[in-house]
């Protein structure tokens, strides 16, 4: 029986700071853990989207189309990422009867590390979006830069999340 890898514990602790129920794909709760991670990612991205929607609305009404366009672009990136997360592969429950092999210790470590990195990245995006809205409220000139950085982080997160599919796709074929 494969347990939670010891060297992945720091990452598990890191994720648990944000996601309290996260247990690092312990046996019997892997599907739930996967859903939990995805739900947390969607929640964070939705937060970013809300910030950007506020920025977009205020800047559009004020006639600052440059910032409004940047915020709109960020909103679209958030929608793309949400759709990716919603329709991402989740692995299967009964590995023995399916075409998948059981995950190895290395696979679990990779997944946990990946979850940690994605959650960390999307958290940074949330902070940036929050900061951007704050700067908008303070009429700071750096607001657009923060919006663009948020967009860049969300786009990176989208690409980074796609790597999760690569890890899970390695489980598809039995060795």
């Amino acid at each position: 029986m494969i347990g939670t890898p010891i060297d992945a514990l720091p990452y598990i602790r890191g994720v648990q700071l944000i996601l309290s129920g996260y247990n690092g794909y312990a046996k019997g709760s892997r599907i739930e853990t996967d859903k939990m991670v995805r739900a947390e990612l969607i929640r964070a991205v939705t937060r970013v989207r809300s910030h950007m929607q506020n920025i977009f609305q205020s800047q559009f009404r004020e006639g600052d189309m440059s910032c409004a366009r940047a915020a709109k672009q960020c909103i679209e990136e958030c929608d793309y990422l949400c759709e990716d997360i919603n329709k991402a592969i989740a692995g299967m429950e009964h590995a023995f009867l399916s075409g998948q092999r059981s995950p190895s210790n290395k696979d679990l470590k990779n997944l946990i590390k990946h979850d940690h990195n994605v959650v960390e990245m999307v958290t940074k995006a949330v902070n940036l979006a929050n900061q951007a809205e704050d700067l908008i409220a303070k009429a700071d000139d750096d607001s657009k830069q923060h919006i663009l950085q948020t967009t860049q982080l969300i786009a990176s997160c989208k690409g980074f999340f796609a790597a999760r599919a690569d890890i899970l796709s390695g489980l598809r074929k039995k060795k």
Binding site: A39, I42, T46, F56, Q57, K72, E76, E83, N86, K87
Partner: protein, 396 residues
């Protein structure tokens, strides 16, 4: 177990069912796909939001019936199913541009529902039928879309051309994002994308008709130009062919003349050659004749020289003979004179006879000498010559 189908049409977006109304002997189950969401509302509370799962024993069945009778289950159980994936909604509109032109078309709204937002559909089902389909949602949002989005955007367009610009699309999308947020958020929808599709306006139809007519006119003009060009080309080809035939005829005639001239030239050259040959021949003949005349003259001169030599020899011989004869005669006469003188017969008569005979002898000797004559060519002819050494004329 039997599978429950909450969605019987692609246009169905959401359905609210009362689980208590499903009274079947077999338990009902439903498989929720990733784009399907089920909200469990138990006793008026939102219990759970499920997706990507197999919902077993959602309603019906003997155990649930029994539980209801005993009072162990919830008294009110409702299930709210909804599609969470993006769907397109076409909202028809009709408005006016700032110049008075009417514009018709559709506003395309691409909406999705977040899983957590699905319970907001209860706001709709509170006052409407328990099934929400595409037309139902369009009817809800249509007036607001037209009033808040379409009409202001159309009013900002001064002509139909503005409807086709990227700026109008961007303005439409941004306006929809802002103005529709309130309504869509209340219903639990999220606007992903929006864009208008407008039918051609009357002025655009007129412009289209004008463009068509202009295109036809231009096409006719092009055909006419092409036909004219074809005629011009045909004319040029015909003229070129005639010119070519004329040139051929000229060349042919010129060739004939050239041939004739060449023929004449050849004749002349042949005549010239013949003349040259004749001239050479005559020159040869003349040379031969001159050579022959020279040879004759030389021969004549040689003969003349021989004759002169013979003559000189003969004259010398004759002179010698005469001298000898004269000497002999003189000796004889001397002897005779001496004899006569010895015998005393030397008388004057004898002397006179002697002188007379001597004179006669000289006269006979002189008579044998002929006087020279002149030829017609001017050469002095000597006695004894048979022909003139200059002209070769024979001497009679």
């Amino acid at each position: 177990m039997s599978n429950y189908k909450w969605r019987d049409s692609p246009d169905t977006i959401s359905r609210l069912i009362n689980a208590n109304d499903i009274q079947t002997f077999a338990n009902q189950q439903v498989m929720l796909k990733p784009n399907e969401v089920c909200v469990l509302i138990v006793d008026g509370k939102i219990g759970d939001i499920l997706t990507e799962t197999h919902l077993k024993s959602m309603a019906g069945g003997f155990s649930r019936w029994l539980g209801d009778k005993v009072g162990l289950t919830a008294s009110d159980r409702r299930l709210l199913f909804a599609m969470s994936g993006p769907m397109d909604y076409w909202v028809p509109f009709e408005g006016q541009l700032s110049n008075g032109e009417s514009a018709k078309g559709f506003a395309n709204l691409r909406l999705k529902m977040n899983t957590e937002d699905v319970p907001k559909l209860l706001n709709y089902f509170a006052n409407n039928a328990p099934v929400l389909d595409r037309n139902g949602l369009i009817n809800i949002i249509r007036n607001e879309v037209i009033a808040r989005v379409v009409t202001p955007c159309l009013a900002s367009c001064s002509s139909a051309a503005d409807l086709r610009g990227a700026a109008f699309l961007e303005q439409f999308e941004m306006t929809a994002e802002i103005e529709m947020r309130n309504l869509l958020a209340n219903l639990g929808f999220t606007l992903l994308k929006s864009f208008p599709i407008t039918d051609p306006t009357d002025m655009e139809m007129v412009q289209k008709h004008r463009a068509t007519v202009e295109a036809q006119t231009t096409g006719t003009q092009v055909n006419t130009d092409a036909q004219i060009a074809h005629y011009a080309q045909t004319e040029a080809i015909t003229l070129a062919r005639i010119q070519m035939e004329n040139n051929v005829k000229r060349a042919h005639a010129k060739g004939q003349v050239t041939v004739e001239l060449e023929h004449d030239l050849k004749g002349l050259r042949a005549e010239e050659a013949r003349w040259d040959a004749e001239l050479n021949r005559d020159k040869g003949k003349m040379n031969l004749r001159v050579d022959e005349a020279d040879a004759k003259a030389k021969r004549a001169m040689d003969m003349f020289s021989q004759v002169q030599e013979r003559k000189a020899d003969r004259v010398q011989n004759q002179n010698e003979f005469q001298n000898q004869r004269m000497a002999a005669q003189n000796e004889l006469q001397s002897k005779m004179m001496e004899m006569a003188a010895d015998h005393g017969a030397l008388t004057p008569e004898v002397m006179a006879e002697f002188l007379r005979q001597q004179t006669a002898q000289k006269a006979v000797d002189n008579s044998k000498q002929v006087a020279p004559t002149n030829c017609s060519c001017g050469i002095l002819m000597q006695p004894g010559w048979k022909a003139c050494p200059g002209c070769g004329s024979p001497i009679a």
